[in-house]
Assembly symmetry: C2
Homo-oligomer: 345 residues x 2
């Protein structure tokens, strides 16, 4: 079994498998070169050959244990007609935003195969090219996280004023939006599995801004529904749940039925294991800011992170959040090599 798949099933592995969130991205000069030639982030996502090529770029450079398909967490609202664009240096922006009941009622039910088939084709192309030990990961944003972008009309800068207003003042509207997104994410992940994704990850980037009870009701509950439905379709495809800022809720996350919990850099892995036990694998969690330090510092912190998980199966080494564009590729390499060096039999 591939190391990452073994680890996610809490089985022993010859080394701790490792990948990095945003490993196919702007810190790589070959990515920047391709982006300059292609013109436009969404254009790259929507062209399967290019998305495949970008997915493979970090795999060619580093001995990674997983490739995550090059795409974005906002493909679903784009398919729903909100018209996603990326302005260089400013992040995502929608031409339309969701502000009231009519906006939500007007959102179409999407057909992933027809509307997001470019992700499926990119997965199929990538699956053919990947080295045999490398696991292919598909992903989606969580309903709550996607909803915040749709309500804010782009990056939820600062304090998420509009999304939190809907949460507290019109919770029934938010639920209607989340229901539509729950169905869309479910079908989107199933499509990705059918196209070759061996693991799927749900990115709940903004679950951590919620009060505990709101997190359970408005972020974790829809994700749990998705997990149940995807598992009915594909009982053997592991699902990873990553809530940034979710360190207080690991026990509840483990009860969702997910196979693996992504842990951000603020959580100590020893304590995370104490809460989750053998129920889920854990993925993470080096502070991505450590990659700005010299390689010997990266190695030392990576070792401490591995030690904090301890000598048990079920760990997938990763960063605690995405790698940032300013990191020298050699520093990413130092992290990846350190994981293999410190954990090889």
């Amino acid at each position: 079994m591939k190391p990452l798949l073994a680890a996610i099933n809490r089985q022993s592995t010859p080394h701790t498998p490792v990948w990095m969130m945003r490993q196919a991205g702007r810190y790589l000069p070959e990515y920047r070169e391709l982006r300059a030639k292609t013109g436009g982030f969404m254009r790259m996502c929507q062209t399967p050959e290019i998305a495949c090529e970008i997915t493979l770029q970090p795999i060619r450079r580093f001995p990674l244990d997983a490739a995550i398909i090059f795409s974005d967490i906002l493909t679903i609202p784009d398919a729903m007609g909100l018209e996603l664009t990326f302005v260089e240096g400013e992040g995502p922006s929608f031409a339309k935003r969701i502000g009231n009941e009519n906006d939500i009622a007007a959102l179409p039910r999407i057909d992933p195969i027809n509307q997001l088939g470019y992700v499926a084709r990119a997965l199929e192309l990538t699956a053919k090219e990947l080295p045999s030990q490398v696991t292919l990961i598909g992903f989606s944003g969580s309903p709550w996280t996607i909803a915040t972008y749709m309500i804010e009309g782009g990056s939820p800068k600062g304090s998420f004023v509009l999304s939190r207003r809907m949460l507290y003042s019109q919770p029934e509207l938010l639920r209607a939006l989340l229901d539509k997104l729950t169905e869309a994410v479910t079908n989107y992940l199933i499509m990705q599995i059918d196209a070759g994704a061996e693991v799927v990850q749900i990115f709940d980037t903004w679950g951590g801004i919620l009060p505990a009870q709101s997190y359970l009701d408005f972020s974790l509950a829809p994700m749990s529904t998705i997990i149940r439905r995807v598992q009915q379709h594909s009982p053997h495809t592991p699902i990873t749940l990553f809530t940034k800022g979710g360190g207080q809720w690991l026990t509840a996350m483990a009860a969702s039925g997910c196979d693996c919990i992504g842990v951000d850099w603020t959580t100590n892995l020893t304590q995370a294991r104490n809460q989750v036990g053998h129920k889920c694998a854990l993925q993470g969690n080096l502070d991505p800011a450590i990659l700005r330090s010299p390689p010997e510092v990266i190695r030392a912190h990576t070792n401490a992170m591995l030690q904090s998980y301890g000598n048990h199966p079920g760990h997938i080494a990763n960063l605690g959040h995405g790698i940032t564009p300013d990191i020298p590729p050699e520093h990413a390499e130092a992290f990846i090599h350190a994981v293999h060096d410190f954990t090889s039999e």
Copy 2:
């Protein structure tokens, strides 16, 4: 005994005491009027009569149980010569920033009475004017939080690149800076107690961005030193520790010797009490975004928050972070009244 002082000592009170972080601030029209006349945030902080007046503004409007002195968490680096200014709508900015060993070595030891005496005088003036049941609170930023602003040269926007770089690449430099700040904060809080502060609160606004071990070493350890030293000087003055994003570390925070832990809105108070027990009072934690909702929604969420703490002594109702400038004062009032209504004997 005043209700807030009783609650912080885990004694029964006729109602749950309540105040709001940033209660003396821009959401009040009388504050905006005074600011327009005075010109400049630091000018207002540094003029004791004005700081006193602003401190009293919310007390005149609402039946609050505490007044927090109008000041800023960055008075210390200003006194150290970094020249703090506030640009409207952009937050704090320093003329100089701390980037290397020489910058830190050159930082002068401050003399709070001479350099920050304006805060002491504002406290003395306010103490004379306060209604007898209202507790006067003094405060400081935490060493780590102050350090982030000094290193970034102002608001640590986005990802705290410079502070986290120093943390990982030059931890000994950061320690030297934190040592200087630990001494300054200690003497600053003692001065405030001597001037009439009945409780002091340490605002650790940015402790929550740290990995667990770094939080313990670089944020909580300096705060624990401050608590020990302040308690040697003033054994009967309660100290509150507020780490935004600190919900994972409440047990460690309780072991610092503080009397009260400020809890942000992401943490469930039942779970917080289970971790902290009777060791500390808890302060918080309504999501300040709830104050954008209609008064009946505010009442319902306030009730749920009070219920989550339960019917035990030791709760000080508050928001989970500061009130924002866009909140109508009537909504703040709905929160304050709800606390008294739901908890009065």
